[in-house]
Symmetry: C2
Subunit: 322 residues, 2 copies
């Protein structure tokens, strides 16, 4: 008898729901704007309706064994309760698991979204041939997840994988976590925009200034714009991605030396700038990790894009990512 599961990515921006079978095929997915949905209870209702419809529509794929849900925050794992979530204001201490399970009558498992993205890449993405990996998701911030021998490593408080908060610059920029110079203050879309603003203020990048002027009718200063200007050859913007790569390489060196995993996966929207930041990343990593320099450790791009979390959530429900 075949099996499938519903994977849910409950993000700050979008609610995404998918049906994934136990062979790892994504059968169908839906996406809705969280803003359009309104408050927490409306979101949960919609989520359950989407899940119900997908489950019904793909009944021919086998039995729907349950629902996995990724949330952007820290959980009380055993209870499926969201403990803290800056990206879902008003959801603190909300019993996500029970709220969904009581409406659907199916087993529900909840985990952190970065952990589930790592699990997804392990199951069906860049990590499908290894037992352990570390995923770094480069986006607005820098998220992380650790897979150890096929399973998510949560740590004793469910707070493991906070890779964005590895210190990399002793007296660096202030970080939202209260520290300074954390990896995500150097390696994230936010970091690129902050540094580009400094370049603009210093008059160091006429090309970017020109783009921003043109964009004033609509497009704001984004990491993507900085990337385009750098790609077109602007030296100051290129150096910004060199620095990005250097600090990413420095943090990876620490991870490689401590964890000795076979694979580190770089995902998230900003990983699209791979061609600009990866040369400095690899060069720093080689210089700072004799373990990496041995040659068999890999750093590779993620393969599932924004769907990684959906695969991971389904894998959680299927219990099948080993």
């Amino acid at each position: 008898m075949k099996r499938f599961a519903i994977g849910v990515d409950l993000g700050g921006t979008n609610l995404r729901v998918a049906a994934v079978d136990d062979a790892g095929r994504l059968l169908e997915k839906t996406a809705r704007s969280m803003r359009a949905l309104g408050g927490r209870d409306a979101v949960i209702r919609q989520l359950c309706q989407d899940a119900r419809e997908l489950a019904a529509r793909h009944g021919s794929a086998g039995t729907c064994v349950g629902v996995g849900v990724g949330v952007p925050g820290i959980l009380y794992l055993e209870k499926g309760v969201l403990r803290r979530s800056p990206n879902l204001p008003g959801w603190e201490n909300f019993a996500v698991r029970d709220a969904i399970a009581s409406q659907l009558g199916l087993p529900v498992r909840v985990d952190n979204d970065a952990n589930l993205a790592a699990l997804g890449e392990k199951w069906r993405g860049a990590g499908r041939h290894v037992a352990s990996l570390c995923l770094l998701t480069l986006g607005t911030g820098l998220g992380g997840g650790l897979i150890l021998d096929g399973k998510i490593w949560h740590g004793f408080l469910g707070m493991a994988g906070e890779i964005g908060h590895i210190p990399v610059v002793e007296n660096g920029a202030p970080c939202g976590c209260g520290s300074r110079g954390c990896l995500e203050t150097e390696v994230s879309a936010t970091a690129i925009v902050r540094k580009a603003q400094a370049l603009l203020a210093a008059g160091a990048t006429p090309a970017l200034a020109e783009e921003v002027r043109r964009g004033e009718r609509g497009a704001p200063l984004t990491a993507e714009l900085v990337y385009r200007v750098a790609s077109a050859g602007d030296r100051a913007c290129r150096e910004l991605f060199d620095s990005f790569g250097k600090y990413l390489g420095l943090a990876l060196a620490g991870l490689v030396n401590v964890l000795n995993f076979p694979l580190y996966v770089i995902g998230g929207g900003v990983s699209a700038a791979w061609d600009l930041f990866s040369p400095a990343m690899f060069s720093e990593l080689c210089a700072r990790s004799y373990v990496f320099a041995e040659g068999s450790t890999r750093v590779a791009r993620a393969e599932l894009g924004a769907d990684a979390g959906l695969y991971g959530a389904a894998a959680l429900a299927l219990g099948s990512a080993a």
Copy 2:
């Protein structure tokens, strides 16, 4: 039926052998100078003789189930072959396990000494009440070991736990590993001596200069001497331990944020300077890790001293550190 095992610490300086029973009681231990023993084959012969005698003398403690051996280097674990060992020149590619097993006729397991010290602290030391811990051994260099859910985490090349090579100073002092500014260039006996030499050269510590002059008839400049002068109130030497604590705290913050273990254990000879370096260590760790600031993560001193590796080696042979 009771069981016991032989634990061996095959160090660069000393060969130590102990009998430890399955309740974790150290029944007897021996120690010999490696230099006095001569070459590799003589060391192995002596090791086997000590093991045989201990096994015979403690036959009343039950069955001797085997031998665990800690070596300072990187191993081919499955084969029990020493791959690389700066502290045991001439032992490269030596089949430690088989050499001992063939003489003793007992099961032999070999592992890295820092890993076994971590396992020892887990079994009978500071970590006996937790499932996972990270041990940092502060000595000439800085060694490390990770215990995950009761078991040594080796990594896929057997190179995990190289905590001494986490980058902490971007343009720091050169490290033996080929990088710069690794943790052990700031947090080790070698680091203290190097920095004390710089203080002496700059005339910044008359008190230490006086001690060194007095010691010229015998005692060299050691980390211990610097510690004594700092303890007596010398400001420059105290600041040296502040800096030591600061970088240790910075590296711990990264570990805490990524691993989220309940316990980090600080051992090794230089951990005796705990009173001088730990205030700066805790202050830096609090500032740089909101996970630590939550309050339930512990950083504690090791409890087994130089015997940690003997307990760990015995635990390996007994398979009983869970």
